[in-house]
């Protein structure tokens, strides 16, 4: 096939993403750099210096780091278990396990998060059970642990899927070789499986960290309105204050953190992004 003609197949997408991805980002930048009377402004610096924003940003970063870490700690052993199970049963099971973790996402995430209120509340499912068993109450609703739980819950599948996929891709001969050479199970995991599944881990971290950092829904639903994350402030600036300039300026500050996160993951990946299945699923 004629090479240049084939490349043209990407043209519709190139036009689409220029129009709906690149230009909109410049519009945000434009609003962030200007003020309401049209002149240039230092809105971005002001947004970064505002103590409310700083506190919200710091909280968001801490919460999302914790949530990402918990997700990783849950997802990695789980992926090992899953790959051991699907290794035995063959390929269809891979699809089945993948679907088990995608399935909850087909029920709206807002309604699932709201259901956590029912579970965590003082008169909720868990506490009724604890009361019945004569145990002390669990009182985390409307507090930071509930928000972190919500983040872990909502984004855990985004950590499981890439890690699981990358472990499945590992050539089993490497693992056998390690064992032949006298490594025990734990050593094999740390010396062979873990380094080889690193691309999946990095993809998972990005896919959990960014949405946790910028959510406003989870803090709304499980935080009782007492904790403002940076997403809440951006949302309020646009919908409540109608102040697009301040909102865009804070979005620009937020993007700096996202770019840093992307750069870190790119650096540690050192691989062509197109070759790894970031968040993708395999059937």
């Amino acid at each position: 096939m004629n090479k240049s003609k084939t490349t043209l197949l990407a043209a519709p997408y190139a036009v689409w993403s220029a129009g709906f991805v690149v230009i909109p980002l410049f519009i945000i930048l434009f609003y962030g750099l200007t003020s309401e009377n049209g002149g240039l402004s230092t809105g971005i610096l002001q947004a970064a210096a505002d103590p409310i924003n700083q506190k919200a940003l710091a909280l968001s970063i801490v919460f999302s780091l914790i949530a990402t870490l918990i997700c990783l700690l849950i997802a990695y052993p789980l992926s090992l278990v899953l790959s051991a199970l699907s290794g035995k049963a063959g390929r269809e099971n891979t699809t089945f396990f993948t679907m088990l973790f995608i399935l909850p996402m087909w029920i709206n995430s807002l309604i699932r998060t709201i259901a956590w209120q029912n579970i965590l509340e003082r008169t909720g499912v868990i506490n009724r059970f604890l009361n019945f068993a004569g145990l002390p109450e669990l009182n985390i609703i409307n507090k930071p642990p509930a928000i972190i739980l919500g983040m872990v819950y909502d984004f855990l599948p985004f950590m499981i899927l890439p890690i699981y996929n990358s472990i499945l891709k590992i050539n089993k001969d490497y693992i056998d070789a390690a064992k032949d050479l006298g490594a025990n199970n734990i050593q094999t995991i740390f010396k062979v499986t873990l380094p080889l599944s690193l691309p999946g881990i990095i993809a998972g971290i990005t896919m959990v960290f960014v949405p946790s950092l910028t959510t406003f829904v989870i803090s709304d639903i499980l935080g009782g309105g007492k904790i403002l994350l940076v997403g809440n402030i951006v949302e309020q600036l646009f919908t409540l204050d109608n102040d697009w300039h301040a909102g865009s300026a804070l979005s620009c500050v937020l993007m700096v953190f996202i770019i840093i996160n992307i750069l870190i993951s790119e650096l540690s990946e050192r691989k062509d992004l197109s070759e790894n299945s970031k968040g993708g699923i395999e059937l």
Binding site: T6, F20, R91, L110, A115, T214, K226, D243, S277, L283
Partner: protein, 623 residues
């Protein structure tokens, strides 16, 4: 070894319980006979039945499915083509394209959503179904590309070349050799983007227009006032359906392993996809016909009202009597309604804003004066409330009261010390009730409580008084369990908190559900509010709007609506029709205004003032 396998399985089960626990909670709630999620009233299937007649939820559901399907099909086509093109690109160009592809995936949803919203506004595009669809296609394409592009790595080029050598055209060779190899990636990409689209809230939230709702935005709107159990029912049906599909697919898969995977399967899939696309196209064209209302039709009326604020049977009766078709939309706050009106995107005729918002709309010349000769039923409205309305609408020129009420304290007799007095805002600062207090999560209602306690006007502009009230609220924050809006209702019914700040209209309903609850108007004074109908300037249905208002003021309608929403009606004739004496003469629903001290309505204070107040409130919530 055996032991670790067991441990592994147990671990898997625990994680699955974690992931599925909320879904099971939803399933249980869908069978609950109570409208409130906080207590169990026995088993019922009613929500499943009423679900299918709930136009709003069903519309939102079909919108969700339609947007997910259309956006993922378009994304699959564009994304697959792009992947083929990108595969043949030179490296720098490919890098650039890959970088752009990563943006929507790695960027924050909120930034993507806002950036698209600003683009649509800059292009003067009316936000609605199309804007949501464009947004979803935009964030879906990358998922297709990252699923399809890696497939080329395992592609055997020599087969393709052999096909060409044997005389196949490039297109045929592509279809016979390359496409089957790409297919798993294409299907994975399609499924991934379908899932992402189905589950998206944030991007839809910012790019949707009036009248267009997906399930996510509908649920978010209901979050503030309590989730309609029909949504639990819908989620349960969906879950059962998806689970069934999963098992069917799984069985089909195990079936297939015996045979070799051949192009035959893909031929079937191709046909199925084509079938679905054609079906969808038909659906889409049907819906677009249905949703493009005929704006010039004489016999229509566009009404924009608060959620759950009008008995739907009243609208049906109106249409039956007059032949006028009512297109009815709902909003959650004045602040959501206002931008939609001024953007001119939606051509509503009648709206029902609150006092201060009406004042703002009058000052901006957005309203049409009422023609009272066409409203003979005005005689049914209690003059006392018309007089109260004069504070924001002098001469009652523009507005007609729909409901009114106060803001007060709701407390649970079984959870508080009977020695305490609850007719004062200061009880909300009592250390004894730490973590047992629910405050209103809106700037003006929260500030009102503090200002009244300090003895100031709730419309004060004095920066010192405002600062003082803010300090008081900050002092209160450690005692507050949560800042909520209409969730106060469910939480108080479920004994989740002992004291809450609530609108009087909700109080009667909560008392019916939980007899321990008591409502009082604090002695320091409070907000007396009115929500009133206004006709928008530029209406094309002035005549119909008057007919509708006159119909609403009939005593029977006033009574029926009160019975349905439990918010006080200013309709004297309607009130007289209430059967239960204790409700007809309820001090909560129909307080003797002259007996209370310090009742005030909110005034509109200007945009700068509002931003300043928002800022004060953000400081309270932040620190």
């Amino acid at each position: 070894m055996k032991k670790s396998a067991w441990a592994g399985k147990l671990y898997l089960i625990l994680v699955l319980i974690f992931l599925y626990a909320p879904i099971f909670t939803l399933i249980v709630l869908s069978f609950n006979d109570s409208k409130s999620r906080s207590h169990w009233d026995g088993f019922t299937l009613d929500w499943y039945i009423s679900l299918f007649s709930n136009e709003y939820i069903m519309n939102a559901f079909w919108n969700t499915i339609l947007i997910a399907l259309v956006s993922s099909i378009v994304a699959t086509l564009v994304g697959t083509a792009a992947s083929i093109g990108m595969y043949r690109m030179k490296l720098p160009m490919k890098r650039l394209m890959m970088g752009v592809t990563n943006i929507p995936m790695l960027n924050a949803d909120i930034v993507t959503g806002i950036s698209l919203m600003l683009l649509f506004i800059a292009c003067r595009m009316t936000m609605g179904f199309a804007s949501v669809l464009i947004a979803h296609i935009t964030f879906n394409i990358p998922y297709v590309i990252i699923s399809v592009l890696p497939r080329f790595a395992s592609l055997d080029k020599s087969q393709f070349e052999a096909a060409l050598d044997l005389g196949a055209t490039p297109v045929v060779a592509f279809r016979k050799i390359v496409l089957p190899d790409l297919m798993p990636g294409i299907i994975a990409g399609f499924l991934m983007s379908f899932t992402m689209s189905l589950d998206d809230f944030i991007i839809t939230h910012f790019t949707k227009g009036p009248g267009v709702d997906t399930l996510s935005t509908k649920i978010y709107a209901e979050l503030k006032k309590g989730i309609n159990p029909e949504i639990y029912a819908l989620s349960t049906i969906l879950f059962a359906f998806v689970l069934l599909m999963l098992f069917l697919i799984n069985m089909k898969n195990s079936d297939r392993t015996s045979r070799r995977r051949g192009p035959k399967n893909w031929a079937f899939l191709r046909k199925a996809t084509a079938g679905i696309s054609i079906g969808l196209f038909l659906c889409l064209s049907l819906t677009s016909c249905a949703s493009s209302y005929d704006y010039d039709d004489e016999n229509t009326l566009f009404v924009y009202n608060w959620g759950e604020y009008l008995d739907p049977t009243i609208i049906e009766d109106f249409t039956e009597e007059t032949g006028i078709e009512v297109i009815y939309d709902e909003y959650e706050t004045n602040e959501v309604m206002y931008p939609k009106i001024i953007s001119g995107a939606a051509q509503y005729d009648l709206v029902c804003p609150s006092d201060y918002m009406i004042e703002k709309m009058i000052s901006e010349d957005l309203l049409l004066p009422l023609d009272k000769s066409k409203l003979p039923n005005l005689k049914n409205i209690d003059p006392a409330y018309l007089k109260m309305s004069e504070s924001f609408d002098p001469g009652n020129k523009y507005s007609l009261p729909h409901t009114f009420g106060t803001v007060g304290i709701l407390y649970n007799k079984s959870m508080v010390d009977p020695e305490d007095s609850f007719d004062t805002w200061s009880i909300l600062w009592d250390e004894k009730y730490k973590d047992d207090i629910l405050m209103q999560d809106s700037v003006r209602d929260a500030m009102m409580v503090a200002l009244k306690l300090l003895g100031y006007s709730m419309n004060t502009t004095d920066p010192n008084e405002l600062r003082e009230a803010q300090q008081l609220l900050m002092k209160q924050k450690p005692l507050v369990q949560a800042y909520v809006v209409d969730q106060v209702r469910d939480k108080m019914i479920g004994n989740e908190a002992a004291i809450g700040v609530i609108y009087s209209g909700e109080a009667i309903y909560t008392q019916e559900e939980n007899p321990d609850l008591e409502y009082v108007i604090p002695k320091e004074g409070t907000n007396f509010w009115l929500d009133s109908w206004v006709i928008l300037k530029g209406t094309k249905h002035e005549e119909n709007a008057h007919k509708f208002l006159n119909f609403l003021m009939e005593p029977e309608m006033g009574w029926r609506n009160f019975d349905y929403i439990t918010y006080s009606t200013p309709n004297i004739g309607g009130r007289a029709l209430i059967e239960e004496e204790e409700i007809r003469n309820s001090e909560i629903a129909f307080p003797h205004l002259e007996d209370y001290y310090g009742l005030e309505t909110y005034s509109y204070m200007g945009d700068d003032y509002e931003r300043q107040m928002n800022r004060l409130w953000r400081e309270v919530k932040s620190f």
